[in-house]
């Protein structure tokens, strides 16, 4: 075949490889404004709400003054409850937008074995979320403690359990992103996947809190958000799992969604 007319000389042999799929997904993530904006929004929410909660905690403390306020580390990480929704949307969109725009057909034509696409998306998503959210949670913590120190309510990273809670928040958000990716790949529909993610992370904990306490110890602490957010507790809270057990359980949910998505990705027509 006289390929030279179309193909220039000196090119390396073309081959589809795992690291190359990873690189492709990296390019795809950063070449969309929506994913960049979503990541920035998550960081702003994480830091902004951390500062706001710290400030309101400081203000209320000056009036009432009794002990028993929330742990200062947890206060400054309060942004995680909203940031998790933003990060879940990021995870969902990473794959559901491929289905809504039809670009999944280009993607799967280039990688017909399909699974590398899902793993590459997961790896890129996890790495980017972890890096950015770790920076955001540290910023939220440092800023929050600076505000709380005005009333001498602050804690420090060297205090027991604090560093784990701060970095744990970033880990939690990373697993949220992967859960979102799994749901997006499973449902292939943006609105449906975001709805389910929001239901799991925000609505289910509220519903569970209405159950009698006897249920709580058996069921509630194993629910996705309840289990995952145990990593944010500096001190043990009644009827919650221990921090790392909780995160492991939450990872289990994310893994289940990704496994189901992987099986269907291979079996279903694109």
């Amino acid at each position: 075949m006289s390929a030279a007319t179309i193909h220039g000389p000196g090119t390396t042999p073309l081959k589809l490889t795992w690291p190359r799929v990873l690189r492709s997904e990296w390019t795809k993530l950063w070449s969309l404004r929506s994913s960049v904006y979503t990541l920035l929004t998550a960081a702003v929410v994480m830091i902004g709400f951390g500062l706001i909660f710290s400030a309101t905690q400081t203000a209320s403390r000056s009036r009432a003054g009794p002990p028993g306020v929330s742990d200062p580390a947890t206060v400054s990480l309060g942004g995680v409850y909203l940031a998790q929704l933003v990060i879940a949307v990021l995870g969902v969109l990473l794959i559901s937008s491929e289905y809504s725009t039809g670009s999944i057909r280009s993607t799967l034509a280039a990688v017909p074995r399909r699974l590398p696409v899902l793993w590459a998306k997961g790896a890129v998503l996890a790495a980017v979320t972890l890096m950015l959210m770790a920076a955001a949670t540290i910023a939220a913590f440092v800023g929050g403690q600076a505000i709380l120190s005005g009333k001498h309510l602050q804690t420090s990273l060297s205090d027991p359990g604090v560093l784990r809670a701060v970095l744990g928040a970033a880990l939690y958000l990373t697993v949220v992103a992967l859960l979102g990716l799994g749901l997006g790949a499973l449902l292939r529909h943006t609105a449906a996947a975001i709805g389910i993610a929001a239901g799991l992370l925000l609505v289910l904990p509220i519903l569970a809190s209405l159950l009698p306490p006897s249920w709580s110890s058996h069921i509630t602490r194993f629910l996705p958000a309840n289990a995952g957010q145990a990593i944010l507790n500096v001190h043990h809270v009644a009827n919650t799992l221990s921090p790392w057990t909780g995160l492991a359980v939450f990872c289990g949910y994310a893994l289940a969604s990704l496994t189901a998505a992987a099986i269907l990705l291979v079996r279903r027509d694109a």
């Binding site: 390396t12 081959k15 589809l16 690189r23 670009s103 280009s106 034509a109 280039a110």
Partner: protein, 310 residues
């Protein structure tokens, strides 16, 4: 590389999109894939590159399954639907992301952008592209991996006349280089100008598999419409080798194989009164319409001989 489609069937629920299709597409020429909208052309192409899994039968490209190629984009370059692109991404980044899966260079990306005439707009987001620019981007993506097989679904859709001519020249060039070029269209006229071989399907089944020349020769391209007082007697008088006579409506015959002059002479000699004697020139487009027109089963049997003769 040869595309071998064997007993391929694809059902979506109760609907059968492709029904026992067996075709071999050969390199070194442009093979037109024709059929009315909904005939199963796009589905067949999706099955070739494994986007959909067949209900039964199989497709091999160069003897292998598409998913088993170490560098799929280097083997088959496909344009399936105009929009397989995220509208929020620039044309350049879309092609770059595809290129990176195979280690295709940035220079090659720029090359196909130039080839498709998209240099001016490559850094713009695809959402603002016209249908024609979207098609050019899809063709650029298909050529990205320098593929042995180029498969394009309705490539001229939305292209301006200059773009249509560009596609024709491009396809001819690719075929001349020995590549396998498989192009679908629902427009017979376009295919007659572009393709050397035709695969015609209707309702998911093979209707014809022949060279363009054979297809046009076999299709009822020209006939003479005759209205007369005594159709049965005129029919007997005209009958002969190479002559086909089709009774159309009351007193009307459609005669193939004789000119209007010859028919007039025969009628006068036989003292049959003619009310109307009109040569009809059916276009290739009409021939195609007739071939694919509703009764697919009937035509499939009728034209099967073309394939075996070709």
């Amino acid at each position: 590389m040869v595309i071998e489609i064997r007993e391929l069937t694809k059902r979506y629920g109760a609907k059968t999109a492709v029904d026992g299709l067996s075709v071999t597409v050969r390199p070194g020429m442009v093979t037109g894939f024709l059929g009315p909208n909904g005939a199963g052309k796009s589905t067949t192409m999706r099955l070739i590159i494994g986007l959909d899994a067949p209900s039964s039968g199989e497709v091999r490209v160069g003897g292998r399954r598409y998913r088993d190629f170490p560098a799929p984009l280097h083997e088959v370059g496909a344009l399936l639907e105009a929009r397989e692109v995220h509208p929020g991404r620039t044309a350049y980044k879309h092609l770059l992301a595809l290129a990176r899966t195979h280690g295709i260079s940035r220079r090659r990306v720029e090359e196909v952008i130039g080839l498709a005439g998209l240099s001016e707009v490559a850094r713009q987001r695809v959402g603002g592209f016209s249908l024609g620019m979207g098609q050019r981007l899809g063709i650029a993506a298909a050529l990205l991996g320098d593929p042995e097989v180029v498969m394009l679904d309705e490539p001229v859709n939305g292209l301006d006349p200059e773009g249509v001519r560009w596609v024709r020249t491009l396809l001819a060039g690719l075929a001349a280089e020995g590549r396998t070029v498989f192009v679908s269209s629902h427009l017979m006229g376009e295919m007659a100008l572009t393709a050397q071989h035709l695969v015609v399907i209707g309702r998911g089944r093979l209707i014809a598999d022949s060279s363009v020349a054979d297809f046009t020769a076999r299709a009822p391209g020209e006939f003479v419409r005759v209205r007369t007082s005594d159709a049965s007697r005129l029919g007997e008088l005209l009958a002969g080798p190479g002559v086909t006579i089709r009774p159309a409506s009351d007193g009307v015959l459609e005669v193939t194989g004789l000119t209007s002059d010859q028919i007039g002479v025969v009628a006068a000699a036989g003292k049959v009164t003619l009310y109307e004697l009109a040569p009809q020139h059916a276009s290739l487009e009409e021939a195609f319409m007739e071939v694919t027109h509703d009764h697919v089963e009937y035509h499939a049997g009728d034209l099967a001989s073309i394939g075996s003769r070709a």
